[in-house]
């Protein structure tokens, strides 16, 4: 099977999941008490106006017609228009998406850096170090993002005044729009003040989310390494006189496939944590968009963001599979030949 066919197959397999999720979200939104039109214009608006809005948004049609219209739209790439600002939903999403990507990528980097460093220390020294790392992992795992974020905001933002506690960048410093990722755009255009400001704004949210996710990473990588260290080929390496840290590297390498798979799964969790992190740090990403619009019962936007999240997860899974194919000789020889 060629990589391209493989990707297409994976996407096709993701379709039923997406359809089910869409349906569930569609129904839940309509079960939530409240009327989106009233949420928009208030109860005192003239009835003719409300009627006009109902027609404009299609809310006057029977539910199943709304549903079929919506599904048809989704599969032709049309997510509809927001009830709130009447812009195409996709435009709102695209405005916010880069902020979420930036936060997710930096948080992920923080968590793999911490996860690897601690896992290697634990596997190398074992005993007390191992216990300490285990404790860290448990604490990191149970941290509640809004509280932990608030604590960091108080310490580093309010008390020490080292770092900003909200937003993506100091207003006015926004770099020219190229990718929408401020860090990348600022770097490409050589805009140092923007770069520094963007990184400073990223620091607290990505450390907050990165630490929370690092708990699972640490534990998983450490467990994989320690388990692999009991395998026979490790004895060969020890007998052959490889230094301890190199033996550890080989154990890590042999356990790389499950590690990458787990990291991919955690990325989905990371997106979930990103919603909380975004609200804690007023980060203008998809998560804040979602929460804002749920309040107004902006059905098309909420549905659109959910689809988008699912798509991200599907693509992450495909990416994980592709990376694993590169890393696992067994898969590589089996699938590509």
């Amino acid at each position: 099977m060629s990589p391209l066919r493989y990707i297409l197959l994976r996407l096709a397999l993701a379709l039923p999941t997406m359809l089910i999720l869409l349906t569930v979200v569609f129904l839940i939104l309509r079960v939530i008490p409240g009327n989106p039109i009233e949420a928009m214009v208030g109860q005192k608006a003239p009835p003719e106006y409300i009627q006009q809005l109902m027609e404009q948004t299609g809310l006057n049609k029977p539910l199943y017609v709304q549903y079929l219209d919506y599904i048809r739209g989704v599969f032709t790439g049309d997510l509809g228009r927001s009830f709130i600002d009447n812009r195409p939903v996709i435009a709102d999403i695209m405005d916010r998406f880069p902020a979420t990507v930036e936060l997710a990528v930096f948080s992920f980097l923080v968590s793999i850096a911490i996860g690897h460093a601690l896992a290697f220390l634990a596997a190398y020294f074992r005993r007390n170090v191992d216990e300490a790392v285990r404790l860290y992992a448990i604490i990191a795992y149970i941290l509640f993002i809004p509280f932990f974020g608030l604590a960091l905001q108080l310490i580093f933002g309010v008390y020490l005044r080292w770092l900003p506690i909200g937003g993506r960048i100091t207003p006015g410093l926004e770099p020219p729009h190229i990718t929408g990722l401020y860090v990348v755009d600022a770097a490409i255009s050589g805009d140092w003040p923007a770069l520094v400001s963007a990184l400073k704004h990223l620091a607290l949210p990505s450390i907050t989310l990165g630490i929370v996710i690092s708990g699972v990473f640490t534990r998983f990588i450490r467990n994989n390494m320690v388990k692999t260290l009991e395998e026979d080929f490790i004895t060969t390496y020890r007998a052959a006189g490889l230094p301890r840290w190199r033996v550890l590297m080989r154990a890590y390498r042999a356990a790389l496939v499950p590690t990458i798979t787990m990291m991919g799964l955690q990325l989905a969790l990371l997106l979930q944590g990103a919603v909380l992190t975004e609200t804690t740090f007023s980060w203008p990403g998809l998560g804040t968009l979602l929460l804002e619009r749920i309040q107004y019962l902006d059905y098309p936007t909420v549905q659109g963001v959910v689809i988008f999240y699912v798509l991200i997860v599907v693509f992450i899974n495909i990416a994980v599979d592709l990376v694993n194919l590169a890393v696992d000789p067994r898969l590589r020889r089996g699938v590509w030949q």
Partner: protein
């Protein structure tokens, strides 16, 4: 010339909960240059543990490790038990003593090609070899065990058990060590592959000193210059192969030989009456006494000493003292 390897009073105990497993309990032996010494005994007698102890490859639950293991190389002497870990790693492991592990089907790195795997180990001790020359050396070694060079580009999951065993033998020999410990090198293989590996081992005789751990007395008689018989963590008889096989002096050796009537079979030695004793609470006195037809009073109380019973032939049994 001094023996290449001298082992004196070697002990290796494992912790198991509150218990202590005395897997190697006071083993002494010598190995001459180019000699093949077979270590035979029933399953659980501590043969593999002896091999690991000689390499100082201790599991995490090792609770006691002492005695002396002296390795002589020219004028240099290495005391394996007490030497510094880093020196052991650098000067002894693989360079001077290597090992082919029992059931070594998973002894090869699963995510490396055979070539990378061998080179990774060679490079550790021969930093002067660049990758090209390291792989050339690996190719030589692979050919010397009768495998095609194409094996170097393969992963272990693409090789049969016999091929992996040969790879491990090639790897054990590639640095031209003084001593190779071979732990049941043929037991996991089918009959034809066994025959191949045996003739390979025969062709290696004289070049390196070998400690051949096996429960296959036929294999021992075919290849070994001397045979050591191990029982419950101790060596009970050791001597030239002919002497041990034709005129065994320890009752346990006799029982072992009787349980292998055809001398050309590869099966577990299970037909000696009674069970292998517990290494946690070994029988007092002579450890073989619960199963020995000649057991006397003294056998239950006192441990028999090793006595000379012929040229280079020693055994530990009270029958030999009276």
């Amino acid at each position: 010339m001094p023996p290449v390897l001298v082992v004196e009073g070697l002990r290796l105990y494992y912790g198991m909960g509150k218990d202590v497993v005395k897997a190697v309990d006071g083993v002494s032996l010598e190995l001459d240059r180019g000699e093949v010494l077979a270590v035979v005994g029933e399953s659980g007698s501590g043969k593999s543990s002896l091999g690991y102890a000689i390499m100082r490859l201790l599991p995490e639950n090792a609770v006691l490790y002492d005695g002396r293991i002296l390795l002589h190389d020219g004028g240099a002497e290495f005391d394996i038990v007490s030497m510094d870990e880093e020196a052991l790693r650098r000067d002894v492991r693989w360079k001077r003593i290597s090992m082919v592990f029992q059931a070594s089907m998973n002894a090869i790195d699963p995510v490396s090609t055979i070539g990378d795997f061998i080179y990774r180990i060679v490079r550790e001790h021969r930093p002067d070899l660049d990758k090209r020359r390291g792989l050339a050396a690996a190719a030589e070694a692979i050919k010397s065990v009768g495998l095609p060079v194409s094996v170097l580009d393969m992963y272990p999951f693409e090789l049969s058990g016999g091929m992996k065993q040969r790879v491990m033998i090639a790897l054990a020999l590639i640095l031209r060590p003084l001593v190779v410990i071979l732990d049941e090198p043929t037991s996991a293989l089918d009959v034809i592959t066994q025959a191949n590996v045996i003739s390979l081992l025969k062709s290696l005789r004289g070049d390196v000193s070998m400690i051949l751990i096996t429960h296959d007395l036929a294999l021992a008689s075919e290849i070994a210059d001397r045979i050591a018989v191990m029982y419950a963590g101790k060596i009970v008889e050791i001597g030239p192969s002919d002497a041990v096989l034709t005129s065994p002096r320890h009752p346990y050796t006799g029982a072992l030989l009787e349980s292998t009537p055809t001398l050309r079979q590869d099966r577990a030695l299970s037909s000696i009456p009674g069970r292998v004793p517990s290494l946690i609470r070994p029988p007092p006195g002579c450890r073989f006494h619960p199963r020995c037809g000649h057991a006397m009073d003294i056998c239950r109380r006192e441990e028999p000493p090793m006595v000379d019973v012929g040229p280079g032939h020693r055994a530990a049994c009270w029958l030999l003292r009276t």
